[in-house]
């Protein structure tokens, strides 16, 4: 399983402020 972790900033212009991280499971391709 793969997950994408997205750091959500608190302010639009301050990318150093990360109060929350979202974790999303990714879709996988069918096995070939």
């Amino acid at each position: 399983m793969r997950f994408l972790c997205i750091s959500r900033g608190a302010k639009a212009e301050d990318v150093t402020s990360i109060p929350e991280i979202e974790i999303h499971q990714l879709y996988e391709q069918p096995a070939k």
Partner: protein, 146 residues
């Protein structure tokens, strides 16, 4: 320069937790093939419903885990791609050619420039930058410098 293209879903779409419409998947596949042929596509993936994800909220030295679904969210990230282009305008032109992920309604796609290591020159030494570049190059899916 690289841009992350963030495709959003509505909370209703997320709640339905349904797989995308097969016709839309085919259209999206054709579009992604175009991106690939043009040499601008570095990475892409689709995100499963938020019921299969979580949020980790930080406050000072502590953190709280909030399991999905993200019921209070006004916008949900449904997928993303990383494009290598020459400008924001070029990225926008590519995004305008993408199929609407909500064919019967409105949808929004966000385009965000990705930091390159050299952007950190004002706060890191050249040695620190090169160290980070080397470490990132070892990652299996690193999209920088491709």
């Amino acid at each position: 320069m690289r841009f992350m293209v963030i495709v959003k879903a509505t909370p209703e779409q997320d709640k339905q937790a349904a797989l995308p419409d097969p016709e839309l998947l085919l259209e999206m596949g054709k579009y992604n093939e175009e991106l690939g042929k043009a040499g601008v596509l570095l990475a892409l993936d689709g995100l499963q419903p938020t019921s299969k994800g979580a949020r980790v909220r930080f406050s000072g030295g502590s953190h709280t885990v909030i399991d999905g679904p993200f019921t209070e969210a006004k916008e949900i990230i449904a997928g993303f791609s990383i494009l290598q282009v020459k400008s924001l305008e070029e990225a926008i032109e590519w995004v305008k050619r993408a199929p609407n992920c909500n064919p019967d309604g409105d949808s929004e796609v966000e385009v965000r420039q990705v930091f390159e290591m050299e952007d950190f020159a004002p706060v890191l030494t050249e040695e620190q930058i090169q160290h980070k570049v080397a470490k990132r190059a070892q990652l299996p899916n690193q999209t920088a410098n491709k």
